[in-house]
Amino acid sequence: MHNKTVAELSKGLAAGEFSSVELTQHFLTRIAEQDTKINSFITVCEDDALTEAKAADEKISAGNATPWTGVPFAHKDIFCTQGVKTSCGSKMLDNFIPPYDATVTSNFKQQGAVCLGKTNMDEFAMGSSNESSYYGRVTNPWGENLVPGGSSGGSAAAVAARLTPAATATDTGGSIRQPSSLCGVTGLKPTYGRVSRYGMIAFASSLDQGGPIARTAEDAAMMLNVMASYDKRDSTCIEREVPDYTATLNKSIEGLNIGLPKEFFSDQLDAKMQQQVQNAINELEKLGANIKEISLPHTELSVPAYYIIAPAECSANLSRFDGVRYGHRCDNPKDLEDLYMRSRTEGFGEEVKRRIMVGAYALSAGFYDAYYRKAQQVRRLIKNDFTNAFENVDLIVGPTTPSPAFGFNSKGDDPTAMYLEDIFTISTNLAGLPGMSIPGGMVDGLPVGLQLIGNYFDEARLLNVSHQFQQATDWHNKAPKNCL
């Protein structure tokens, strides 16, 4: 059952081939048996999941089912779930049980989906290897010494290991696409404003966007159908009709104009990776797409601009974790300053502290113009690069990451080496564009991702092209050893 896609499970439930309780129990058992190695879940909601499954079975037999009724999935532990611990991968929120649901959470509840649990992640979504989680690192199912990528490493690893058919995730600089690439799964970061951020714990508000991780483009489309909604509680959410993303999956891509940014095929890119990406592009060409080279001249500025803007926003967003109202509070504070200092020193990990410090510095008096304002100007240039590119092409394609999954601790003590992991993904966040990573080949037995970047609100096209690619290839069906 765990090898079935969401679409197949949905049909199987509707046809009565199995019940949601059976299905849910199957996945819960798999998690219990296998996640001790992978560590992709922070919280498993065994009792709640079975209760939801039972309710779903009743709805199905009463004929009140939606495509998601009774289908199990998991939430990244960044989405608030009423009554269920939402830690954001941090000691700071180890004791936090939200009294409310994120909009994404309630969207899934309304559809009758069954939440298996909350997936592991880099602390406050800051990281590209899932090594910064308070709950321990996540192991990539493709190799016991390999990172799954981050920050949605738990979601990507759980989907790759068939511990859940699909999972929610978030992407601030590549946190959906990069782990999807490293774990050989399909991930989509929607246009900024497509998915409500309400109840999704903020890292960098102007960049954060929730999206799905699944095994196929079709499943990602089913996920996005639920996740995307207009929400008055998020002022940056855009009021725009949500199409049925599954409706256009089978459109031909004949005549589609695809741009390859020459900056994405630089010496940053591993030679074997380059070959795999080229093969995937040839595949798209066979499907009728026209391929042309384009330029995104400010790509190399995206990492430095991002590492000013994201820390600046996080330095303010994380001020609320002060030990006063919820979350970690130090023992016996002797005064207010001691309460703040020790609660935050104890509650946050190294990478989070580093980014708060960098952000506070970039915003401080006398440095604002040189850093934050300059970074915003660069952001505008990067956005203009894409706007210009989309005048000539329908879609941009390239690698998701410079290399396949790397080993634990391999980026050493140099945080900037880790930051370069996001070189190909960050610019879409800065521009607010939708981006997707799909399995596009293998290098040395490890999956590599093909990245597709669309114009604003062009998620349907991304999913359509990905689905057509997946109809012609079987990279997305490759599974890690022992996971089938």
Binding site: L93, A102, R197, M200, I201, S235, A316
Partner: protein, 482 residues
Amino acid sequence: MQWETVIGLEIHAQLTTQSKIFSGSSTTFGAEPNTQASAVDLAMPGTLPVPNEEAFRKAIMFGLAIDADINKRSVFDRKNYFYPDLPKGYQTTQLDHPIVGAGHVEIQLKDGSKKSIRIHHAHLEEDAGKSLHEDFHGMSGIDLNRAGTPLIEIVTEPDMNTAEEAVAFAKKLHGLVSSIGICDGEMSQGSLRFDVNISIRPVGEEKLGTRTETKNLNSFRFMEKAIAHEVERQIELIEDGGEVKQETRLYDGEKDISRSMRSKEEANDYRYFPCPDLLPVVFDDDYIEAIRKTLPELPDVRQARFIEQLGLSEYDAGILSAENTMAIFFEATAKTCNDAKLAANWIMGELSARLNSEDKSISGIELKAEQLGTLISRIKDGTVSSSGAKKVFDALWSGEDNNVDKIIDAKGLKQVSDTGALEAIVDEVLAGMTDQIEQYKAADDKKRKKLMGGFMGPLMKASKGQGNPKLFNQILAKKLNN
């Protein structure tokens, strides 16, 4: 040396919206602690602000009322600092793109002169909660009911030179914001709070001196005292060879002392940056014009009307038009008695004195405008004398009774205006005052006026105070001059 004082004000006015500026929680004053604080107000993880359109409407109303430029694009910024009653660790405010740009407010001084005070800008922001340091056994309590209440912060240019000007401006602004209904003006509840920036410089000097800021003055009286105190402190400091430090000071109005709260060096680096959770807010001309149509009569317009239509002096009209409650009370009184000048005299005399001595405002008293108007009518038609009317006023004020005529009857204040009856009293009294009559008749005109008064006392006594003095006078004059 002659010193010139330079004063600028920063005013925080709570806007009278039903709900908070970025959440749906109620803004009602005085609720149990933390009963009006939602997940958004508590800054729970993942919660987001949603702007309240009513706050923007009220800010724009203010801008239109001071003839200011309305910025069609305004941006919210985060002002970062840690404090337990600031749940997010930053205040959402407007730094570079405030909603209201430059404007001006005219003030009138006691000597009748006028001055225009320029407003630098006014911006929208959220209020913080309250820290409570008593009753928690060495700990502090936090009440977040106020957190997120919409404020408009109004910043003046340093255009005032005396405490009188600053207080006149503060009163004018109080009248303005309450008249247009954007703020309830309840200073004791913190609805309107004044920070005063003060510096001094030698007369004739162009360059401004170093300023201090005295925070959170919540009455006009304390504001006046605080300014006098601070000016004196600065002059003494400089004349003793010291210099003024840029700092924030706290003033204790009860003890008339002030102390430094924090110096410029200790001030936070607020690390302002545009709030990424809120998009820039954009208005078009139609939106602004539609709000302009909802503006009620402004105090200045009302003052002109009181002068032209009701014949009041400029000074009286200024005072009676400044506040909505006062203006409404005055107009209702004048309408009831059909005599604007008498109504103005009573309100600015007896009523104002009483309000001042008991530290009350029009909205908090028993006396109704219609009652005062009726009382004035009774004076005009001779039913009650001026001195009797004061007794009726006392009864109305204390709430002893609310019917003017009943009070007059019950207290026996009704004047006897029946000339026959009065004449009989005069005859009776005069019969026992033959000596005085002789004196009167022998006196010249000038002396006669004085002597006339000698008959009034016994007449009033004989009539038990109820005789109409005017009529007594007429009858008396007729009889004595025959």
